[in-house]
Amino acid sequence: MNMTIAGLTLRSLLGRKRVWLLLPLPAILLGLTLLGHLHDPNATEWIGPIEQGLGFGAVVPVMALVIGASVIGSEIDDGTIVHILTKPLPRQEILFAKLVVAAAVTAVTTGVTMFVVGTIASGTQFGVGLAVGAVVASICYCTLFVALSLVSRRPVLIGLLYILIWEGLLTHLLTSGGVLSIEAYAVTFADRIGGGGLLDPTVSVRSAVIMAIVFAVGGAWLGINRLKSFTLTGETN
């Protein structure tokens, strides 16, 4: 991996205000989990809506969206991407470094959060399950959103539509909609590893594995291709 690009990306990412504005999201999830635990230590009533609905449905994807769209989309917006693109580097090397930073930052923040809330809710094994689900989701979401920021100038808007309309609404109405939902794969992984049947997976483990790979590889391929054809438009033209 190109450590110079990864280092620049990480410093740039952590220097952006909007990334730090995300901090309340894990805090809210943690707070609600603690409240639920105090109210009902058995967790059967609240674990679905809070850990699956809020955790996998909102906290993980929104954090991945903001971080994933920042590592390359913000650099395109402010023009700093040119500094990196004017180097004789294979475009996959550039994209890979940025993807690793985005996925790692998202995976660490959401993975730790989901591990803690899962452990509070139903023990360490459940915590590990939620953390694995969060890591898988982080990789898939970040790849998707990084690719989106190379396809469109409005990656956050399109990403939000995907999270809210597709994953949040349509996949629950369409019987096989979960096959195209990263959230559904994360829940399947979390349920399988966490055990206990506390979550409500809608896709099989096999489908989740295959589709998670399809999203990650497909997103990366799309991103690399778009980066190879990256164009600059003149300010004075």
């Binding site: 220097g15 700093t80 040119v82 500094h83 164009t231 300010e235």
Partner: protein, 303 residues
């Protein structure tokens, strides 16, 4: 030594033609890419630097197409007009990052050398966000030069520089050109190009309007008639007196004042106050009405 060639290159966006059938060859030495704002200079530079494919024709560096060939950046140093720099880095870190991304064998030495070239050694350890616009520009040039490319492309490199910085940058470009590098810089300011470059490519409305030695082109420009808008206390009296001057080619009298066509800028502007005093006419407005670059270039295209 490297050569950039545009062969019948055109670039359009939808129905808008930004660059129209341009053929040019840039070899070692320094070349100015001159044209008014919106003429297509930036589009040409972006095509040369592999950031834009031509819609038609070819753009090559040493025979290789520039589009989708990141390897060209081993030979090209590019300073685009609008490239933000990471403000959290120091100047040195920024140039060092460039050297590392180029995978140079001794990146620290290369970075220090490039910073010395642009005279930024003293400020090298300050964060870029504390730099003036001119300093940012210089540190960007250092980052573009760090791998000692045979080709240097700069889009409006003097924007934001103070006169001393300009002179220094001009010296640097001269030195690079004299050393056998291919240097191309764009500008919409005639004087900048005049001071640096013997060879110019003039682009107007997406077309290559003139190409070659600057002095020849400049002569065409200075020999065009200059038009002045004049208002005075007695326009008719002034017009009659002015017509007797050799430097005046013609006068249009309108209700809003006079439009005087002067064949010689210097003689006319020296003669006018003398005539006005002699005739007892008070001049309330004297405005060159065609001095915008667009009109200069329009004349050039028409000639």
């Amino acid at each position: 030594m490297s050569t950039i060639d545009l062969a019948a290159a055109s670039r359009w966006y939808g129905n808008v033609v930004a660059v129209n059938d341009v053929t040019m060859s840039l070899g070692p030495g320094i070349t100015g890419l001159l044209g008014p704002n919106g003429a297509g200079k930036t589009t040409v530079l972006h095509m040369m630097s592999g950031f834009l494919p031509p819609s038609r024709g070819t753009v090559t560096l040493d025979g290789e197409p520039t589009w989708r060939h990141p390897d060209i950046y081993r030979k090209i140093g590019l300073v685009v007009e609008r490239e933000a720099v990471h403000g959290f880095l120091t100047g040195y870190e920024f140039v060092l990052a460039s050297a590392r991304m180029h995978k140079l064998p001794a990146p620290r030495t290369a970075a220090r050398h490039a910073i010395e070239l642009v005279e930024m050694t003293e400020a090298a350890d300050r964060r870029i966000e504390t730099y003036s616009k001119g300093m940012r520009q210089r540190v960007r040039v250092a980052a573009a030069l760090v791998h000692e490319p045979p080709v240097l492309l700069l889009d409006e490199p003097f924007n934001g520089m103070d006169p001393r910085q300009r002179l220094h940058m001009m010296d640097l470009l001269h030195t690079m050109g004299a050393a056998g590098n291919t240097v191309l810089f764009s500008s919409h300011i005639l004087e900048e190009v005049e001071q640096i470059s013997g060879t110019v490519q003039v682009i107007v409305s997406g077309r290559l309007a003139a190409s070659g030695d600057f002095r020849t082109i400049r002569r065409l420009m200075t020999h065009r008639p200059h038009v002045f808008a004049i208002r005075s206390s007695d326009d008719r009296r002034l017009a009659v007196a002015l017509l007797r001057e050799d430097s005046v080619a013609g006068i249009d009298v309108a209700s809003g004042g006079l439009a005087v066509r002067a064949s010689d800028y210097g003689s006319f502007t020296r003669a006018l106050p003398r005539i006005a005093i002699r005739e007892g006419v008070r001049v309330s407005q004297l405005r060159p009405s065609d001095e915008s670059l667009e009109s200069v270039f329009a004349y050039l295209v028409a000639s």
